[in-house]
Symmetry: D2
Subunit: 191 residues, 4 copies
């Protein structure tokens, strides 16, 4: 089975995108994959903002990215794009740090008017890092995610409900991601 | 005359985009405008990354943005887009925080292949903040900026040279910005 | 007063974006400006698609663009971007054919999920043509435009109603465009 | 083996992007795949520009797209984006017309400054059509393509040379496309 890194890019402690990521992580685990969850807001702020590549916590995340077969990125939409916090972390990763990996981009936002932010803002960045396959992503409206709680995303937390208006589309992008994970070449190219 | 906020979005202490910003600031001052320089990397990292709107240093930057007639944004290009550090700060500003303001986007990068990052990645974000006029921007190749030094950008630092291959185009976008500053309505709409 | 070229980019004979353009044209005329309306679908198809710069009708549109102080572009949103018909015409215009001009981008679409197409897809193209000022644009939902009729847009056609949910925002971008028209330099730079 | 539709989006009779497409088609055939080449400029111009879905030639291209397992799109870069001619054809295809298909985007242009047009302008459109996998694309500089000749792209035409500075990167995106073709699900979802 595959190993997936789930990255939460919200700067907020109580975050719908983190809840969404936890929800997706449990589904991936239900399919037999292992999931490592990373909340960027828990990294050392000064190291992150000053691009301190030598910081042990930053180096640790580079290694966690390197060993992943697939990556799920979850971000809120702010100012017509993904979060600056997420980009600050991506800026510290190797230029081709997504090489050989399948990637699922997810977002949360208050309005459908933000829907294209995933494809126009986030996807080009992921593509520039040489992702093997960025599958179709999905923006879940805030009101379709129940009960965000002030805890870190975790595979063991209580399940959340995704509203019936969003669940089928979320299921489809998850299916694409699961398929992309399964089709990975046995010997992946070096990152 | 107008008052301009110059924002340096580089996470690095030694930064060509900060040098470029200082260079532009001196030219603006030569035209009689006042310039306030803000290096995002000097803000409290934890407040910035955790979206702590109540932090005094963050609130101070909101006020400095509010009183500006124009804004110059200078960023390196990383991963086909502008810096995450810059976006983390923009994420903390009011949704329509650029309302009524003229904006000049500038970037530095190692290759002309990054040129479209200004128009496809940064401009939509600035537009979403209701900037009155985002003038044409310019990406200056790293090799065209001489002598970055490990000091904060300052109007009083020694002048730098912009290579003759980049100076005319930089001059044109500066002219557009100066014109946009001059055409501002006397009573600007409330943000 | 200023002279404005209004460009309808819809391939359809019955077009909400053409109706929207006609509506905006009448308002501009009410402010004393002159408006020249161009429906790209009326140009010779073969000349347009084969990039025949020598075709008289194509050359005529280059001249009509050249003498305009401002440009209003109206397009439907298809496939997350503006119409191919509009782009086929823009492709035939001079590289810096919008130099010195104010530009107002407008779109129509069935869903708010298309809203960012203006800023992420159309605006970079307009900016690459060296527009002096691309003001904030607006996407009007199809259902907010009453009674499209199978006639070409015309300043003399019967007025249409824009729904109260869309009218204020449309009014604001029109105000910005009117202001940008008024602030044009007396001696515009050569294109 | 797979069946591939190669789409040439250049409005020009003599076209480097069409030459590039022919070159890629021969390589794909060398791997045992079948290739159907479509030059959009050969379609009936009026039907294309007036969105006449009932035109037999347009309907024929819808069917040729439908039966393809993979698609190669080749376009020149004009005005910071892909050709309007290509978009005019895509506008006529079904909303989810790329469902289940692998897609390779290719471009030609005079300057590396156009490189991001593929990822920021074309890829979001392809993604909106529900492509199963849009692999990394590549912009080949005009000067790296030898000897465009005024003939339609064809698998039987004389081979062209791709300059050594561009060939390795082109080879890599082709490898990704070949792999994506091979990993297609046996029972593809209905478009």
């Amino acid at each position: 089975m595959a190993h997936v890194l789930g990255i939460s890019g919200s700067p907020m402690e109580v975050s719908r995108s983190a809840v969404l990521l936890g929800h997706v992580a449990r589904i991936l685990e239900g399919h037999g994959h292992t999931v490592d969850l990373l909340a960027v807001r828990d990294l050392p702020p000064a190291a992150l903002l000053h691009a301190d590549f030598s910081d042990p916590a930053i180096r640790d995340t580079i290694e966690r990215l390197e060993v992943a077969d697939g990556v799920v990125v979850a971000t809120p939409v702010y100012k017509a794009a993904f979060s600056g916090l997420l980009k600050a972390w991506l800026d510290l990763m190797p230029q081709f740090g997504l090489s050989g990996k399948a990637v699922l981009p997810l977002a949360t936002g208050g309005s459908a008017a933000h829907a294209l932010a995933l494809d126009y803002a986030l996807r080009p960045v992921l593509t520039s890092m040489e992702a093997r396959h960025v599958v179709n992503g999905y923006l879940v409206l805030d009101r379709f995610i129940e009960s965000p709680t002030p805890v870190e995303p975790s595979p063991t937390e209580a399940p959340v409900n995704i509203h019936a208006d969003a669940a089928p589309a979320l299921g489809r992008v998850l299916d694409s991601f699961l398929e992309a994970l399964g089709s990975r070449p046995r010997a992946r190219p070096a990152a």
